[in-house]
Amino acid sequence: MDQVRLWTYVFVILTFGIYITIAWRSRVKETKEFYVASRGVNPVANGAAVAADWMSAASFIGMAGMVAFLGSDGSVYLMGWTGGYVLLALLLAPYLRKWGKFTVPEFVGDRYSDLVRVVAAVCAMVISFTYVVGQMTGGGVVFSRFLGLSAEWAVIATGIVIFFYSVLGGMKGITYTQVAQYTVLIVAYLIPAVAVAQRMTNIPIPQISYGSILSELDALRLELGLDRFTEAFVGRDGGQLDVLLVTASLMLGTAGLPHVIIRFYTTRTVRGARFSAFWALLFIALLYLTAPAVGAFTNLNLLQGAKGSTEADLPAWIAPWSEAGYVTVNAPDGIIESVSNAADSGADLIVSNDILVLASPEIGGMPAPIIGLMAAGGMAAALSTAAGLLLVIASAASHDIYFRMVTKEKAPEKQQMLVGRIAMACALVVAIFAGLNPPAFVAQVVAFAFGLAASTFFPILILGIFWKRANGTGAAAGMLTGLVFTGGYMLYTLEVFGLSANEHILGVSPEGIGAIGAVVNFAVTIVVSKLTRPPRPEIQEMVESIRYPAQQAPSAERAAEGAASEGAASEGSAER
C-alpha cells in the first residue's frame, strides 16, 4: 500500500502543478475573459472542457458501481446524462451562442423581464451550490482514501487549488485547466478498464466484451440475492413509468444546467458551438460507454470471489477497502451467501458503489502507478466540476444581480472584475465550509439540481428561442409554478429539512418529477403568455436574429442557390 501512496502523491502533485501552471499563464484582466474566455475557445478544447465540467466526482467514482448494482435500470443515468446533449446541441447551444452574452439568467432576463432575471439568478445559484458541495466532499474522499490526509485538510486543499485557478483565471483559466483535467481523468478511467476486460475476456475492448460475461453474471447474481443484471425495470421501485420519467428528467435537466450552457458561450462562432457539442458528447461517451462495462466486470469479479467464501478468503483487493469502511462483512454463519450495495439490506457482504471503479486497477492486476493515476483522475473530475459551478454562482451574483440589477450596468470594468473575483472567493469559502460539514441533505439534494433545472430553465429557454410570443409574465409564472410543483413534490417524498418522506404518488420517484414539472412549466408559460400582451417588437426582433448565424453574405459568395435569397442579398442595410 505504501507504493500506492507514493505514486498517488507523485501523480496528484504533478497534475496539480500542471493545473496551476496553466492557470497562471491564462490569468485574466477583463470581464469578457473572466466570464466567457474572450470567446476564443477552439471547439475541440471546448468539448473537452464541457466533458470535464460535466463529469463530476460522482460520475467518475460512483457511476459504474451504481450501474452495476442497478443492472439494466442503471441506463437511466447513462441515457439521461448523455441524451440531454442532443437537446442542448439542437435546441439551445447555437442560439444562445448567437445571442452571445455572459450568463444564462442574462439571456432570460433580456428576453423576458427583470423579474425572470432575478428568479433565474437565484435558481442558478441554488442549483450550482447543491452540486458544488458534493464535489468538495468527493475530492475529500479521494484525498483521504489514497493519501491518508484527514478529510478536513483534504477539503481545504481541494479548495485552495480551485481558488488559485478560478479566481485568477476565471472562465479562461477554468477552460484550459479543464482540458488538462479531462485528459487525466479519461486516461485514468480507460487504462484499468481495458486491463480488466483483457484479464476477464481476453478482448481488450470493454464496451464490446462485457456482453460475453452477462449470462454468467446473471446466474451468479441470482444465487447471491440480487436481480439479474439484464432484466429491465427491477432495479427501481417505480417500474417502467418511473424509469421513463427519471430518464426524461435527467435529459431535460442536463440541457438546462447553467454551468454546462455557459460553456457554449466561449466559442468563437455559432458553428463552433455546434461542433463543441459534438466533441463534448464524444468525450463524455468515452467514459459513459465504458462505465457499464467496468461495472459488470468488477461486479462479476466481486461476486465470484465472494460466493461461498468466508471473510478470510475474500479476494486480496477487498481487504484495504474493508479497512477504509467501504466493505462490510456481516455473515452470521461465516459463509457469504448474499451481497448488496445497500447498508440497510442485511446482506452478508455489503459493498459501497464507489469501490468498483477505484478498485478496478487492482482487480485488473495493474501496478501501483495506475492506482495513483486513478486517484489523480478522481481529483480531476471533482476539481473541474467544482470550478465550473463556482463560476456560475459568482457570475449570477456579480454580473446578473450586482452589475445588471444593482448598478444598472454602470459599474466600470475594473470594479466589475473585482466584484466577480470577490463573489467567486465567497462562493468558494462557503463551499469549503459546506464540504467540511456536509449538510445531511446533500445526497438527496442532487436530485433537486436536475429536477429544478428541468422544470425551471429548460422550458423557458426553449420557448424563449422558438416562440416569439412567449412573454415575461408567462415565463415568470411558468418558472415559479415549475419550481413550486417540482420542489413541493420533492419535499413531500424526500426526507429532508426535518420533513418525513411520504409515499410516491403513482410510483413517481422524486428524481422523475422534473419531467412533469417541465410540462407544467411549458403549459403555464404558454397559457399565461397567450392571455397577456405579446413582447415588445425589439424583443421579437432579437429572437428572430438569433436564428441566423451571420448576416447574409453578398450574393457573389453564394453559388447557384442565389435565386432563393436574391431579394435579401441586395439590402445589407435593411437587415436589422
Binding site: V86, R274, L289, P549, A568
Partner: protein, 114 residues
C-alpha cells in the same frame, strides 16, 4: 404548419420576392432537420431503451440482449452521431443561404449586434 414549398433542394423555382422569404426557408429547413433528428433521438432512447426493451431483449447479439445494449451503448452512440449530423448538415444549410460565419469577423458579430 403547412408545407407549401418544396423548392429547398432544387432552388430553381423563383419564390416571391418578399425580402424575408429566405429567412422562412432557412428556418423551415432547420426545423425539419431538427424534427427528424429528435424523432430518431426519441425512438432510440425512449423507444428501444425503455418502451420496447423487454421485446428487444429476446434477441441476443454477442451476449448482449438487444434492449439492454440499446439502453447502455446503442443510444449513447446514436446521440453522438445525431449531433455530428446536425452540425455538418447545418454547415451546409448555412452556406446554401449565405449565413455562414466568416471565421475572423465572427468574434465581433456577437458583440456588435443588439
Amino acid at each position: 404548419m403547412s408545407d407549401p414549398a418544396h423548392t429547398g433542394t432544387g432552388g430553381h423555382a423563383p419564390p416571391p420576392a418578399a425580402k424575408d422569404d429566405w429567412r422562412r426557408q432557412y428556418w423551415k429547413k432547420n426545423l425539419r432537420l431538427m424534427v427528424v433528428l429528435l424523432a430518431i433521438w426519441f425512438l432510440v432512447s425512449f423507444g428501444c431503451g425503455i418502451l420496447f426493451i423487454e421485446q428487444l431483449n429476446t434477441i441476443v447479439i454477442l451476449g448482449f440482449p438487444l434492449g439492454l445494449w440499446f439502453a447502455q451503448q446503442g443510444s449513447i452512440i446514436t446521440f453522438v452521431v445525431l449531433i455530428l449530423v446536425y452540425a455538418l448538415r447545418m454547415d451546409w444549410i448555412d452556406r446554401e443561404f449565405g449565413v455562414a460565419e466568416a471565421p475572423e469577423e465572427a468574434g465581433q458579430a456577437a458583440g456588435g449586434e443588439r
